[in-house]
């Protein structure tokens, strides 16, 4: 006998907090230019989660634990096989779900990742999306803002603290240099975490659950998305500062050899550095000169003083 249709029950709304994790290169393994795009294939290689992504995950876990309403934490990563290690660690530390989005277009850049994420979450409601402010490998932190732009979510960067204030709202603390702000957020929103408590330790129960949870990549069709950058080639690192190259050229080959082999003598100082023995008054004059030349003196006034005749 067919049962009469039951009354539709109101399902409780669960706040979905998504923390995006990025696997980065493990510095314990040395790497050559030719190995960059396939270093996950190196024997015994294990990438590590990005430290700032971990801070974002801890922020998500803390918000879930203190949420007045039911909440769930989804650890999400997009890319190739290195994502698995990051997601398994997130599960071990207490994330409720792990979501691995497969990017099919080779090595992903921020634009590709953001397009895949926004395509995946287009039909899936997000309460709060948390990103690390930047990643350890490249120092870039573009996925969060790009995702917010594509998903149409308000974006708040530089956040150092989040707490509930009631009514489903959050209060964020943000530091930008010497300016500290308290900002009220109405969800849904996208937040990039600049600083916070470190990720909690994994539990034994979490580790067992993490190992038993199968991780399958989700295929997403972001539509026609072309990479926004083309990689020409890799090269050995260059001095970060343009003028450092000129300084480097001033150091003799002998000093470089001494430095490479850790020998003392004139090789006691780093290449390009100056060590001067000066009395205090001359030393202070020299330091002030350096600070002025490098634009460190007179904060907020990095621009050179107006030239004679120029309007102040």
């Amino acid at each position: 006998m067919p049962q009469p249709p039951s009354e539709p029950q109101a399902t409780p709304t669960i706040l979905r907090i998504v923390a995006f994790l990025r696997p980065v290169h493990n510095p314990a393994f040395s790497i050559e230019p030719a190995q960059v795009s396939k270093f996950e294939e190196l024997p015994g290689y294990r990438p590590m989660p990005d430290p700032l992504s971990e801070i974002a995950l801890e922020g998500a876990l803390g918000l879930r634990d203190s949420s007045p309403e039911p909440a769930t934490v989804i650890a999400c990563s997009a890319g190739g096989t290195p994502c698995q290690a990051a997601l398994r660690e997130a599960l071990a530390c207490g994330a409720d779900e792990a979501l691995w989005i497969h990017c099919s277009t080779g090595e992903p850049d921020a634009w590709i990742v953001a397009a895949h994420l926004s395509a995946f979450f287009r039909h899936s409601r997000i309460g709060l999306a948390l990103f690390g402010a930047r990643d350890l490998d490249t120092g870039a932190g573009a996925v969060g803002p790009m995702f917010s732009a594509l998903a149409g979510l308000p974006f708040l960067d530089g956040v150092t603290g989040l707490k509930w204030t009631g009514g489903g709202r959050l209060e964020a603390t943000r530091s930008r240099g010497s300016i500290r702000e308290r900002i009220r957020l109405t969800l849904p929103a996208c937040v990039s975490i600049h600083r916070g408590p470190p990720l909690r330790y994994p539990t034994l129960e979490g580790k067992i659950r993490s190992e038993r949870t199968p991780l399958q990549p989700c295929a997403v069709d972001p539509g026609p998305v072309a990479p926004s950058l083309e990689r020409e080639r890799f090269s050995p690192p260059k001095p970060a500062r343009a003028s450092a190259a000129a300084d480097y050229a001033k150091v003799s080959s002998l000093d470089r050899i001494r430095q490479a082999y850790g020998m003392s003598g004139s090789g006691q100082k780093a290449a390009g550095s100056q060590v001067l023995r000066l009395p205090p008054d001359e030393a202070s004059r020299k330091i002030l000169q350096i600070l002025k030349e490098e634009g460190f003196l007179d904060p907020g006034r990095a621009e050179p003083r107006p030239r004679p005749g120029e309007k102040e």
């Binding site: 960059v36 900002i183 109405t186 926004s228 550095s273």
Partner: protein
Amino acid sequence: MSSGACWVLVESQTGRICRESLEALSAARVLTQQTGSEMVALWVGAESPEARSAYLASLGVRRVRWVGKVADGDPACEGLLARIEALYRCGPPLFFLFGPTPLSLSLAPRLAAHVGAGYACRITNLRSIGGRLVMTRPLVQGTLSELLRFPSGRPGLICLSPRSFDLPKPFSDAEPLPLAIEDTAPFLPAPPPSSLLEILESVREPASRVAIEDAEIVIAGGRGMRSREGFALLEQLAELLGGAVGASRIAVDLGWAPKEKLIGQTGAKVAPDLYIACGISGAHQHLQGMKHSRAVLAINTDPMAPIFRIATWGIVADASEVVREILHRSRETENHHAATP
């Protein structure tokens, strides 16, 4: 279609151009010289760019477009983003350069996503090879570099790495060309700020209270500051430079500085633009906390101190006396400026 221009976002605070924007102008000048494009400054600030027009013209800027300032009560800078996007859609540039300020790092990727432009971040070098721009970016925590370029025909937004380019020096030869200044604000009304984000409080903290991890300049002291009073001089130096004070393990153990100021293996890890080590020998544990600093200025009486191995500039002298002398000189200079009409 590209208009053949190279745009630079120039941020000003109280009428002064911030350092990161100056570095972007410096990079743009190299680029415009190589590509023959025109340099256009997009001025972000409350004050008109009129006062700085001569200086901007001397750097090679041909046009300034004033896009207004970040509106009060708009923490996501959506109004400013909408204005810049409207300008971009009217005629995109060949390249759009940003200094690595918090505002640019937030605006540029969102703008790139809105307009479908390429976006490259933390760029340390730029050059044009065969008519195409090639950019250098550190990779794998700085152990390698990668050379990048935008796909052919796609305009690109470029955010530079901090302190990768020197400050620009004005052209000294000819009279700078006249500069066209355009106030775009009346023509580009900004949308009202999102009601989803609301600023409850905004406080400017004194330099001494800025977290050492966030400070661009860190002045750290060790046993070489000789006493608690000597160490206190570092607070004054921090105020002068707009930095934060840190301490070595021994300075914390001696009670000259609180534990929160400790820099090292068991303390804070900092990577400021400038690290001034005053009376710090540079023990391995301390170096672990500051080795990623962009530039290190070390003052120590021992010429064989390990800190000199990683120092950009090293001064062999008594740190407390040198700091006292620096403060004395800067006060003299301030008094001189105040007395001069």
